[in-house]
Every structure is written in structure tokens, then in C-alpha cells.
């Protein structure tokens, strides 16, 4: 562990809300609008933290615990995720299993908190969330297994440290497929178009947003910050595979990784600007497709 390994954590904590700002500004650019301020998510977080909380009488401690456990889980996961060549604070063999497990824990508590309200909308959202995540998790695990086969390393930091442009030269198809699968996982997990529409107000069509309708004030700020961090971490995961290049200078590597992250945000904004979201009954096809893509990548490494 060296001083450098604090950097990915700090950057994630500070810059993750900016990702959402970049996505929204990209969408505004395509719409021919001025768009909201880049720092809007920070303003929202600040505003929500000032507010009081309203709890329905029908809810129990589970509803109150949901946002906090979610935030705790994602903060723990942030300890494990390197940024480009810069290793994470914690790295140990098979830490990616813990990473995926923490995401699962977070989702579990979001879902039970939603069910705790007894609202029919939130029940529908919970059912969709569980169904879709059951399809994205295999894709995530198979993609990670492929990376383990490819690099021969067992922790996220060493995996990304080991990966280099040589891998793209030798087994470009494998990495390409893994990146594709991870990007679909990223879009699905963060309720972006084409899986979900983060901007919709139509409670009957929402997935993630509908589960958090009853949260307010600081609880909702936690949820907002949690989803920003989740986007950042899954983005860092896809980016580590997509851009394994090292310049030799750690600062330059870091700058390249940051550039990649915001490039990814722009790409998400572009995707959201040029296509409609899928019908809910078509979404599983996309997610199973991601799993299939990751499986093909894994097969290619078994030579």
C-alpha cells in the first residue's frame, strides 16, 4: 500500500456526482438546450442533506436502514476498485467476489426497503429490479472470470496493473467482448437507457427510481450519492479493461484514466440521446445477450 492507492478512493468520493452532470450536459447538448449546471448533483445532495425526513407509518426499521446500508456497501466497494493503473486501497485475491457481493447487498436492501412501504408501485419496481439483476449478475461474474483467465491475477488491482496494450494485441476480441458485456451491465445496473429511463416521471414504467419514491431528505441524498458512486465504480471497471495502457508516468496514467471516465460519461449521454429505451419485455433479451457475450469471451480464453 502506498500513498497513491488513496487516490482512486478520493477521486471516486469527490468526482462521482460530476459523472451525472457530464451525462446530463451531453444530453442537453444533443437536445439543443443549455442544460443544468455541471455541478447540479452536488447542489441536489447539499439541498437534500438540509431537509427533514418523512417516514410512512407503515414502514419499519428496514425502510430506514436501506439507504444507509446501501451507502456503506458502496463505500466499502470503493475501497476495492482501482482507477486505471492506480491500485486500490485494498487488494487481496478474489476481491472482485466481495465487490460483486457488496453490490448485491446494496440491491437487497434497496429492494426490501421498497417492499417495506407496501406500495404497489414499489413492489413492481422491486420485482423488475430483482428479475433484471438476476440476469446481469451472471454477465458480470463471467466477465470477471474471463479477466482472471486472461491476466492470471486474482485481485482487481493486480489484474488492471498486469493488463497492458499487449493484451489488446494478443487477445483483442476477448477484451472487446468483455468491455461490451461490462458496458451493458453498467447501463442496466445504473438504470440508464436502454434499460430504464432515469428522467421519466411515469411511475408505471420505472425500475430503479420507483423503488426510492418514498425516501426523502438525507436518506434520498444517500441514495443519490450511492448511485453516483455505483456508476463511477462500474465505469472504472469497464475502463480498466478498455484502456490498459501505461505511459510509465503514474500521474499521466491517472490523467488518462480520468479522461477515460468522463469520456465514458459522454458516451452514455450519447447513447441516451440517440436511442429509445427498450420495452420491459425486451430488456431480458439484452441482459441475457450480455451474459452470452461474456461467455463467448470466456470460451475464447480457454484455448
Amino acid at each position: 500500500m502506498n500513498a497513491f492507492s488513496f487516490i482512486p478512493l478520493l477521486l471516486a468520493l469527490v468526482l462521482s456526482p460530476l459523472m451525472l452532470g457530464v451525462i446530463n450536459r451531453t444530453k442537453a447538448f444533443f437536445a439543443g438546450r443549455h442544460g443544468q449546471p455541471l455541478l447540479q448533483t452536488y447542489f441536489d445532495l447539499f439541498k437534500l442533506l438540509q431537509k427533514g425526513v418523512i417516514y410512512s407509518r407503515t414502514t419499519t426499521w428496514i425502510f430506514r436502514a436501506g439507504p444507509m446500508i446501501g451507502l456503506a456497501a458502496i463505500l466499502t466497494a470503493a475501497l476495492l476498485m482501482p482507477l486505471g493503473k492506480c491500485p486500490a486501497l485494498l487488494a487481496f485475491p478474489a476481491d472482485f467476489l466481495l465487490f460483486a457481493g457488496l453490490l448485491g447487498l446494496m440491491r437487497f436492501f434497496t429492494v426490501v426497503a421498497a417492499l417495506d412501504t407496501g406500495s404497489s408501485f414499489e413492489g413492481m419496481g422491486a420485482s423488475r429490479e430483482v428479475f433484471f439483476s438476476a440476469l446481469t449478475e451472471p454477465a458480470l461474474f463471467i466477465a470477471l472470470a474471463t479477466l482472471v483467465r486472461e491476466t492470471g491475477r486474482l485481485s482487481l488491482s493486480t489484474m488492471f496493473g498486469q493488463a497492458s496494450n499487449a493484451h489488446w494485441l494478443h487477445s483483442g476480441p476477448v477484451l472487446g467482448l468483455v468491455v461490451l458485456a461490462l458496458v451493458i451491465v453498467l447501463l442496466a445496473e445504473n438504470s440508464r437507457i436502454p434499460v430504464d429511463d432515469p428522467n421519466t416521471h411515469l411511475e408505471l414504467t420505472m425500475i430503479h427510481e420507483v423503488m426510492v419514491l418514498d425516501h426523502s431528505g438525507p436518506d434520498f441524498a444517500f441514495i443519490l450519492y450511492t448511485s453516483a458512486l455505483k456508476l463511477w465504480l462500474l465505469g472504472a471497471l469497464a475502463l480498466g479493461v478498455a484502456l490498459p495502457f501505461s505511459s510509465g508516468n503514474p500521474w499521466l496514467n491517472l490523467a488518462m484514466a480520468l479522461g477515460g471516465m468522463f469520456g465514458l460519461a459522454v458516451a452514455i449521454g450519447v447513447i441516451e440521446s440517440v436511442m429509445a429505451r427498450l420495452r420491459l419485455r425486451v430488456v431480458p433479451q439484452l441482459l441475457i445477450g450480455a451474459g452470452a457475450v461474456a461467455t463467448v469471451a470466456l470460451i475464447l480464453t480457454l484455448k
Binding site: A31, R33, P194, D197, E203, L204, M275, A276, R279, L280
Partner: protein
């Protein structure tokens, strides 16, 4: 227009048989309503005071022949309902029961639709006590029972800024078995307030029956009054009225297509159409100073003429907006992700649409040739024809596509009319209204057929005024479009109909 003396009430059996057999033979029920008319020999009685026998009136349209039939009968406290033999009467009979406290016996699902007290004191079709307040939406709903079914209720308060309405879905997982719609939250009592008119308040009431259809409603009212007064509207005013009506259609259709794109998360068309809708509204403002056309249409003509410079300006803006709207909407048809939503969602078959008597875009999207501008033309539409825009699939795509065809045809129509704008005045004085007459006035608003029926008393005042919004026919179409669909498709289906709540609730 007909003299009420020439419209004697027929026996109820005859009335019922006539409607049922005419509808079976392909006619359509434009309006079915009750009215209590003051006795002919009792002048000076307060028009709003309701005493005497209830008379039912029915307006039947033969679309292909372009003819209207009006018939009437007298009923007592109850009568055998028409609905079992004529589903189109379903909503109308609920309205009659609520307004007048008579019971259509054998009506399959007799519930209030607007939740107000009956017009005749002490009478109530459900024998509710006068002490208990009537609350909208507090009524029985269809239910489905079983271990795995669930019920979702949405509204009347919604997440977006839209009008209030209550929707109950009976679902199994994501699949909707039935949707029941309960409205009435915006009931203002407009029809009763119109009795005794026309007076100073009548026109503002008409222009705000449904704010997005200001021109359509004002036009239907003015044509009714002009018929009663025997007034001939100058040709220039007739042309400008039609231009305003088509501009209203353009603005709303453009907004609707943008909103459909927004519902599936397709941002380019959603954003562009939102702006272009404003361009069309501004063109109406160019004519009369109001984006929704308030203060333009008045009995006898219009209040604002279009001078030469503004005529040129209107052509120029329309050309630009026409290009913009083409670009924006073509994007929508070219996106496969959009087509896969639109093509498979919210189908209403032609048979269902005929049986329910759908009107407007919803009917034409199910392949029914039904357009007041072509079949019951008035004003300039008698001379300048707009082709009926038809598509056959009956789904969301079909309704969007019919709107797109109508946008193109309305633009072409306005260009033609601007080129040959007749000279002359834009308004003539209207005389007093004919006494003891009935008049039916039809207009094709952007949602569909607007039907106004005015009955005058011995002094030439309104003894009864009936307004039928296109939404009144079409809400049931939305409920049936949702059968066997995914519940997540509801917002898109709803937007593809885009019905009026306040026009329905009156």
C-alpha cells in the same frame, strides 16, 4: 336546426328500437342526453328551474351518407337501458342517470361518472341520501381475486403535471387484465351554467371547456348560434376560422408526437417537437394575440383580421415549421428502438372501435373513415376538402402515424387557404336566436368530433345545452387498448390517445 314542434316525442319502445337498429346498421350515436324543457305555455319561468318530464334526445350520424337524425322520447323514473343492445350508449346512460336521477334498468355497470348531485332535487339513481357528501372516485370498481393477482391504482394525483384522473389496473405480474378509468375530478357544472344563455359568460365558458381545444369548441358553439340566428358568416372569416382550427391541430399533434417520443425515452424528437409545438402556437398568436386562440372566434365571424404583412409572415413561419417538423418526426420513424415499442402496443381492433363508437384520431387509426371535416363539412370545408387520414393497425404507431399524416395535410391546407384568402369583412352581426328550436353542431377538433346540441326556449334562450367531447367516446377505447398489455405500456397508450379530462368532466 329543427323546430322542436317538428320533433314530437315518440313512444319509448320506438325510440329504443330506432337507436338500436340504426346503430346495428352502422350508424353512430353522437349524443344521447336528457333535458327537461319548460312548458311551451309558461313564459317567464326561470330557465334553470327544473320541473316537468324528462325528455331524452338522441343524435345519430350516418357517416357515409353524411346525415344526422334526431329523435326524442319522454321517460319517467326508470326505463330499459339501451346499453345491453348498444354499447355506444354505455357512458351516455351513466351520465343521464347521474344528471337526472332516472334509472336505466339493465345497465351492466351503472356508476356515476362525474360525482355530482342530480339536477332534479330529491331524485337520485342510486338513492343516496342528500346529507352524505358525494366524493369523486368513491365507488365500486371491478376486482379480480386470486393469490397472484394484484391491483395497482394510479392517480388522481400524478407524478407529472397532468390533469387528475383515477386508473385501476387489475394485473397478474406485469400483464394487465383490465383497466377501469374513473374521472369527474374536474366537474365544473358548465352545461348547467350555459342554460339561460347566451350571455357574456357563454363564450369564455366555451373557450375553456378544454383549454387545448379553444378554437374547436368556440367554433362548434358559434356555428350552433349562427344556425339558430340564421346568420351567414363572411367567407373570409370562415377561411380564417379553418386556418385557426388547423393550426390548433398542428400544435397539438406535434406536441403529442413529441410526448410519445418522450415516453419511450427518445429524446431528439421529444425535444424538437416540444419547441415546434410552440412555433405553431405562436402562429395562432400572430393571428389573434393569444397562443391558444382565445378571443378569436365569435358568433358571426372572427374578431381579428389577418392583414397582408401578417399573412406573408404566417406563410413564412409555416414553411419553416413544416420543414422542422418533418425532420423531427422522420427521425422517429427511423429509430428501430422506437418502432419496436410503437408497433406492438395498445391495439384497438376495427370491430372494437366501431362498437364503442370511437371518434377522431383513435377511430381513423383503427381504419374507420370518420372525419367531420369530410363527412359533415361546414364553413370553408364544404369547398376545400381535406383527405381523411387513415391507417389500419389500430396500435400506438397507427395513432402516431395518423397524426403525422394530418400534420402534413393541415400544413398543405393552410398554404392553399392563405393563397386564396377571400376579401371582405370578417364579421356580421347575429340576430336573436330562433325560439323553440334544436340545433346540432359538429366540428372536427384535433382530438375528434365535438358535438354541441342547443335547445332554445320560447324566448330564444338556451333551455338546454349539451356538449359531447371526443374524449367522452374515447376513454373506453383506452381502457380496452390496455387489455393483455404490459402495465409499463400504459403511459405510452395513454399518450397515444391523449384524451381530455376537463372536456369529459365539463
Amino acid at each position: 336546426m329543427i323546430d322542436l314542434a317538428n320533433l314530437p316525442p315518440v313512444a319509448f319502445e320506438e325510440f329504443r328500437n330506432m337507436i338500436v337498429s340504426a346503430v346495428k346498421a352502422g350508424a353512430r350515436l353522437n349524443a344521447l342526453f336528457g333535458a327537461v324543457l319548460p312548458k311551451a305555455g309558461a313564459p317567464g319561468s326561470d330557465a334553470k328551474q327544473v320541473t316537468g318530464d324528462l325528455r331524452l334526445f338522441a343524435v345519430l350520424a350516418q357517416d357515409s351518407a353524411g346525415t344526422l337524425n334526431v329523435t326524442s322520447t319522454l321517460v319517467g323514473d326508470a326505463y330499459p337501458a339501451l346499453t345491453p343492445d348498444c354499447p355506444q350508449a354505455h357512458w351516455f346512460e351513466r351520465e343521464i342517470a347521474e344528471q337526472w336521477g332516472v334509472k336505466p334498468e339493465g345497465h351492466p355497470w351503472l356508476k356515476p361518472i362525474r360525482f355530482h348531485r342530480s339536477y332534479r332535487e330529491g331524485r337520485d339513481a342510486w338513492t343516496r341520501s342528500a346529507e352524505i357528501a358525494i366524493q369523486p372516485g368513491v365507488v365500486n370498481f371491478f376486482t379480480m381475486t386470486g393469490d397472484e393477482v394484484h391491483e395497482v391504482s394510479v392517480g388522481p394525483v400524478h407524478a407529472g403535471i397532468i390533469e387528475p384522473g383515477h386508473f385501476r389496473f387489475q394485473c397478474h405480474g406485469e400483464k394487465v387484465y383490465h383497466l377501469e378509468i374513473s374521472l369527474g375530478y374536474q366537474h365544473r357544472g358548465v352545461e348547467r351554467a350555459l342554460v339561460g344563455g347566451p350571455d357574456k359568460r357563454t363564450i369564455p365558458y366555451m373557450e375553456t371547456l378544454a383549454g387545448d381545444t379553444t378554437i374547436g369548441y368556440a367554433l362548434a358553439y358559434c356555428e350552433a348560434v349562427e344556425a339558430l340566428a340564421g346568420c351567414r358568416v363572411p367567407a373570409r372569416a370562415q377561411t380564417l376560422r379553418a386556418i385557426a382550427l388547423e393550426l390548433e391541430r398542428l400544435a397539438n399533434h406535434t406536441g403529442d408526437i413529441g410526448a410519445l417520443a418522450g415516453d419511450v425515452g427518445y429524446l431528439p424528437t421529444a425535444n424538437f417537437c416540444g419547441r415546434i409545438r410552440g412555433d405553431f402556437l405562436n402562429m395562432t398568436a400572430l393571428i389573434c394575440g393569444n397562443r391558444f386562440g382565445r378571443g378569436l372566434v365569435r358568433p358571426g365571424g372572427i374578431l381579428f383580421d389577418l392583414d397582408e404583412t401578417r399573412r406573408m409572415e404566417l406563410s413564412k413561419r409555416l414553411r419553416q415549421a413544416g420543414e422542422d417538423v418533418s425532420n423531427a418526426i422522420e427521425l422517429l420513424w427511423e429509430a428501430p428502438s422506437v418502432r419496436s415499442w410503437f408497433d406492438n402496443t395498445g391495439t384497438v381492433s376495427r370491430e372494437t372501435a366501431l362498437e364503442l363508437g370511437l371518434v377522431g384520431v383513435a377511430a381513423r387509426a383503427s381504419g374507420i373513415e370518420r372525419d367531420v371535416r369530410a363527412q359533415f363539412p361546414s364553413g370553408i370545408y364544404r369547398f376545400a376538402h381535406i383527405p381523411v387520414s387513415l391507417y389500419h393497425t389500430g396500435n400506438v404507431f397507427s395513432r402516431a402515424h395518423v397524426r403525422w399524416m394530418e400534420i402534413q395535410r393541415s400544413i398543405a391546407f393552410i398554404f392553399d387557404q392563405l393563397k386564396v384568402l377571400p376579401e371582405g369583412p370578417v364579421r356580421t352581426p347575429t340576430g336573436p336566436l330562433a325560439a323553440n328550436c334544436a340545433v346540432v353542431s359538429l366540428t372536427e377538433g384535433w382530438r375528434g368530433e365535438i358535438c354541441h346540441v342547443a335547445l332554445t326556449d320560447a324566448a330564444g334562450r338556451f333551455a338546454h345545452y349539451k356538449v359531447v367531447d371526443p374524449s367522452f367516446h374515447n376513454w373506453m377505447g383506452l381502457a380496452l387498448a390496455l387489455r393483455d398489455q404490459q402495465i409499463s405500456d400504459f403511459p405510452l397508450c395513454n399518450k397515444s390517445f391523449n384524451l381530455s379530462y376537463c372536456g369529459h368532466d365539463l
